[in-house]
């Protein structure tokens, strides 16, 4: 029981971790939270569904296509709701992304079904559970977990090794200095919004065969990803991964040992508690105010 719960917790947690990574990438670069992040995740999942189920594109090809679409949507979010507002206050910035979120959600509802309409994504592995040692494992979970780890590694490599990734890092560390050395910060912001959404898209496509797709799912993933990011200190990439895994495991355990309805709510209780007791997250260092 415990090992089964842990495995499914880690699997969902890995998806939360990916969503959280995207949130952190945007926050590191821009200092804001993209409240449309969950909807970008949801939308990319539906795009993959259309490609794979409706148009018959093979899964291994649908995945990168949806990731590219996610990147484009993220970059578009930057152009609409961040770049024109770069001098505005945080409240305006956040509310603009909230607006985008509802537009995406409404569009998804019209295109892919109304409230309560769930679309299923065909499994890409055998749905039969297998036994590894004592543990019952659904192959799809392993595929998701493996895929998530692969995406994290790819992203780490991108961030550490490529020129674009290094520029993103430099901008996050010190945007003034980055401007001085000739980095065009506006482009870095676009790149960050795009990259964040691309990671979310990968998460959505990995998750799709495991569950159902529905227009309201974005928000649930967003708030859990956000919670994971905050647990990890909001600007730490490894922190986001740890935060995501923690939330996945907590949910699975709460669902298994208390009641299935607690799956939903345990993350919210944890996050309210953490924010009161330790507002800077588990890994975050207290940032002192500068005046």
């Amino acid at each position: 029981m415990l090992s089964y719960l842990l495995l499914s917790g880690v699997t969902t947690g890995a998806l939360y971790a990916l969503v959280a990574l995207g949130i952190v990438v945007v926050n590191k670069a821009t200092g804001v939270i993209n409240f449309a992040h969950g909807e970008l995740f949801m939308f990319s999942g539906f795009i993959a569904w259309s490609l794979h189920v409706q148009m018959g594109v093979a899964y291994p090809l649908a995945l990168p296509l949806a990731v590219a679409a996610g990147f484009a949507l993220g970059a578009l979010t930057d152009r609409i709701a961040f770049r024109p507002l770069i001098k505005a206050d945080v409240i305006s910035l956040v509310l603009a992304t909230v607006g985008i979120a509802f537009v995406l959600r409404g569009v998804a509802r019209i295109v892919w079904g109304g409230k309560g309409d769930y679309l299923s994504f065909p499994p890409i592995t055998s749905p039969e559970p297998i036994m590894i040692g004592q543990i019952m494992v659904i192959p799809q979970q392993l595929a998701v977990l493996g895929g998530a780890i692969l995406v994290m590694l790819l992203f780490a490599a991108f961030f550490r090794l490529t020129r674009a990734g290094k520029m993103m890092q430099a901008t996050a560390d010190n945007s003034k200095a980055a401007t001085l050395v000739g980095i065009q910060t506006a482009r870095i912001y676009t790149l960050s919004f795009g990259t964040g959404a691309a990671i979310a898209a990968a998460a959505a496509v990995l998750m799709a065969p495991l569950t159902l797709l529905y227009p309201d799912m974005g928000f649930a993933f967003f708030i859990k990803g956000f919670a994971a990011a905050v647990l990890g200190g909001l600007t730490s990439l490894p922190g986001a991964v740890l935060g995501g895994l923690s939330i996945g495991i907590i949910e699975a355990l709460a669902g298994g040992y208390i009641h299935s309805s607690f799956i939903e709510v345990s993350a919210f209780i944890v996050i309210m508690f953490v924010l009161v007791v330790r507002p800077t997250g588990l890994l975050g260092f207290s940032r002192l105010r500068r005046v």
């Binding site: 260092f285 002192l288 105010r289 005046v291």
Partner: protein
């Protein structure tokens, strides 16, 4: 010698292992204008932040009128009579100049939720007095005509002076000014010099002045403290500090030494 109004006793501050202030002692007597100078990054602003309660010191104590104020909330410390201005303009963007001044009266006014929302007579009288006092405070700095302008529509220098007035209106005993003269032209500087003296003489307020315009500091301050890399390297009357070889060497550097020998 009168008792100190504000004292620091061995105050140290560290940020993530780096010591930004290292065992600072300071005594400011009532009625003094104290200069606080030092190169960029010396820890001057950090010192003000510790005094007004934004950071706690990792060691040492801060006393206002002999009472420790370490650990109190900034708003509490302000209520005890400590005012300050900031290195960057901190006027409230959504308010006119007059309203900014009136918000400086916050702790000297009383109207609560009921009196204010019901527009009771007690509140209306208090509000009228507050407005009048705010207008007088604007006259004091010679900016009465600017009352109804949005604060952010003014020049940087004007904003800084309004901030000083906003702090003064709260009737503080001591005011900490963080680089208030940035953005002032040479002829405005002379006026500013007079303003600082008037604040001390007419309002009876003790001042601590962080400033890069050395001429202003040497001119107006009774005592000057020099910080460098978080340590106090000199303390005394301007003439003594000006000639202190440590200061010339460690802080003022080549440029001023050249000028110094030239004059």
């Amino acid at each position: 010698m009168t008792a100190a109004l504000l004292s620091l006793r061995g105050v140290s501050v560290g940020f993530g292992g780096v010591k930004v202030l290292d065992g600072i002692d300071l005594d400011v007597r009532p009625g003094e204008i104290r200069g606080l100078i030092g190169p960029n990054g010396a820890g001057k602003t950090t010192l003000l932040n510790v005094v007004c309660g934004i950071h706690g010191p990792s060691q040492g104590d801060v006393l206002l009128e002999g009472r420790s104020i370490v650990g109190l909330k900034p708003s509490r410390i302000a209520a005890l009579g400590l005012g300050r201005t900031f290195q960057t303009s901190q006027l409230f963007r959504g308010m006119t100049v007059l309203e900014n001044l009136m918000s400086g009266l916050h702790r000297r006014t009383r109207a609560g939720l009921i009196a204010a929302s019901l527009n009771l007579a007690s509140y209306r009288e208090e509000e009228a007095r507050a407005e009048e006092e705010a207008r007088l405070a604007l006259e004091f700095i010679g900016m009465a005509d600017f009352a109804d302008r949005p604060g952010t529509a003014l020049s940087f220098g004007q904003q800084r002076v309004i901030e000083i007035a906003r702090t003064l209106i709260g009737d503080p005993k001591v005011v900490l000014l963080d680089e208030p003269a940035v953005g002032l032209s040479m002829n405005r500087l002379a006026e500013f010099d007079r303003l600082l003296r008037r604040i001390r003489d007419e309002k009876g307020v003790t001042l601590i002045l962080i400033e890069h315009v050395i001429r202003l500091v040497m001119d107006v301050c009774d005592q000057v403290t020099v910080l460098s890399s978080g340590r106090r390297i000199a303390d005394g009357p301007p003439d003594q500090v000006r000639n202190d070889p440590d200061v010339i060497e460690a802080y003022l550097g080549k440029e001023l030494r050249a000028r110094h020998t030239a004059s």
